[in-house]
């Protein structure tokens, strides 16, 4: 997925990594089968740019959030892995707010990734509160308490 992220960075795409991969880049040794990206839900220019950059990867165009919540989550299988675009989500602040507080982490191969900050990540995990979120919550609480996120 580093190639996709790198293209997004070079082309000024507005995105934030959320979910399990974001927790992994905070330092939690965990697995996640997909990459969850939070994008501004009605920024049509941004969405058009993503569609253009990933035209060879997406089997259907990424769409903005509909009036009745359509397209809230859009999932794709790409040659780089499973990519999920979130146009909102439990516990997530508005995109502009989240973006203003975002942090940059690096993957194991050195690619810079814009991520939801630790506190916002913890809030989203607490709100989701699924069984699989509990270890992430414990890790993020310890990290934030230690002043490392």
């Amino acid at each position: 997925m580093d190639k996709v992220i790198d293209r997004f960075n070079k082309n000024g795409i507005r995105y934030l990594l959320i979910g399990g991969q974001a927790v992994r880049l905070e330092g939690m040794p965990r697995f996640s089968m997909d990459w969850d990206l939070y994008i501004p839900p009605r920024d049509e220019v941004n969405i058009k740019k993503i569609n253009s950059l990933l035209k060879d990867e997406l089997d259907a165009p990424l769409l903005p959030l509909g009036k009745k919540g359509e397209n809230f989550v859009q999932t794709y299988q790409t040659s780089q892995g499973i990519l999920q675009f979130h146009l909102g989500g439990p516990g997530l602040p508005d995109f502009d707010v989240a973006e203003s507080r975002s942090v940059t982490h690096r993957t194991e191969t050195g690619t810079a990734v814009k991520c939801l900050c630790g506190k916002d990540l913890l809030a989203s995990k607490r709100k989701s509160d699924r069984p699989e979120d509990q270890a992430d919550i414990l890790f993020l609480e310890k990290k934030i308490r230690g002043g490392r996120a």
Partner: protein, 64 residues
């Protein structure tokens, strides 16, 4: 009791280290077409179904 005997010691150590651990690559993931969801409930239900499909095929093969 030593610090490392606590069940949650690993989380403390990971939080202090902040090291990014490499992600294994999946090589036999079942193919699927793109999907769009209007709610997390629908999305999570679809994801559960996908995990069941993976379990039924005997899991996934991994590579470094």
């Amino acid at each position: 009791m030593k610090f490392t005997d606590r069940y949650d010691a690993k989380y403390t150590i990971w939080a202090q280290e902040s090291k990014v651990h490499p992600l294994p690559r999946m090589v036999t993931f079942p193919p699927f077409k793109s999907r769009k969801f209007s709610s997390y409930k629908a999305f999570n239900a679809w994801k559960r179904g996908l995990l069941i499909r993976i379990a039924e095929q005997g899991g996934i093969k991994w590579t470094k």
